[in-house]
């Protein structure tokens, strides 16, 4: 067991991508941190905002183009329905592992005591307001506030 002084006490996780495979790792790590009694902050920026937008969070897709790990030729990945197919496959696998859909996961992470923030620069760039986001989002903050709230935390960029 690690020495107690080496223990991670706080993490600050940035989610910058809006694909299903771009969003889940950060959510799983934030939830996992809370499960270990580690303080967790989630900061959604750029396309990562899709994960907390009421209109979009249920429509996140797995990227089948420009994703070499899909082991699929680019042209095939670009066929209509290919992304939807890969997305439903992944969702089914996650359900088997008891990993919740994004909306339920956000509720769970919030109930676990994590803080959720949206990036001000992106919100302004896309012309959004707090009403566009799920209620679990605490506030829209700028990068300076992000660093203030991350004091003493390990920052993880995804």
């Amino acid at each position: 067991m690690a020495d107690s002084s080496d223990k991670i006490n706080k993490v600050s996780i940035v989610i910058s991508r809006g694909s299903l495979d771009g969003v889940y790792p950060g959510l799983i790590m934030a939830n996992g941190a809370r499960m270990e009694g580690i303080e967790a902050t989630l900061f959604f920026t750029f396309f990562g905002l899709d994960a907390i937008m009421k209109k979009r969070l249920k429509k996140l897709q797995v990227a089948t183009v420009g994703n070499p790990a899909m082991h699929m030729p680019t042209l095939l990945g670009a066929l209509p329905g290919m992304s939807a197919f890969a997305t439903s496959m992944m969702k089914r696998q996650m359900e088997k592992l008891d990993i919740p859909p994004v909306d339920e996961f956000l509720e769970m992470i919030k109930d676990a005591g994590a803080d959720l923030y949206a990036c001000r620069a992106t919100v302004e760039m896309f012309g959004l307001t707090k009403d566009d986001f799920v209620p679990q989002v605490d506030a829209i903050i700028n990068v300076a506030e992000f660093y203030e709230r991350s004091a003493g935390a390990q920052i993880i960029f995804t």
Partner: protein, 105 residues
């Protein structure tokens, strides 16, 4: 593998302090393990979680996830974190005499 006397009984624990043999578990053992986890007294709320976990493990062979505790066991996630602060799934599993949870959620 350390063996210790808990509630008047010799009990084997693994390196993380989880019971090796589930049949060593009793309510008295649970009370001692809870105190070690910083929970002075097991309340009705704690017992609801512990009993669901044990019953679910007996049925499914796996330690239930926090989501399952919520959806099937009827324990709201917020309440679970209040009952077992700083690591609810692991603490509750240990007090319930089950193995350390292996899943990521």
């Amino acid at each position: 593998m350390p063996t210790r006397e808990i509630a008047g009984k010799q009990v084997s624990l693994d390196d993380d302090g989880f019971l090796v043999d589930a049949t060593d578990w009793s309510k008295e053992v649970a009370q001692v393990l809870a105190q070690e986890e910083g929970i002075a007294d097991l309340t009705e709320g704690h017992w609801k979680v512990i009993e669901f976990m044990r019953a679910d493990f007996a049925e499914k062979g796996a330690v239930p996830t926090i989501r399952r505790l919520n959806k099937v066991g009827g324990v709201p996630t917020k309440e679970l974190y209040e009952l077992f602060p700083n690591g609810p799934a692991k603490k509750a599993a240990r007090i319930a005499g089950l193995a350390k949870p292996q899943g990521c959620v």
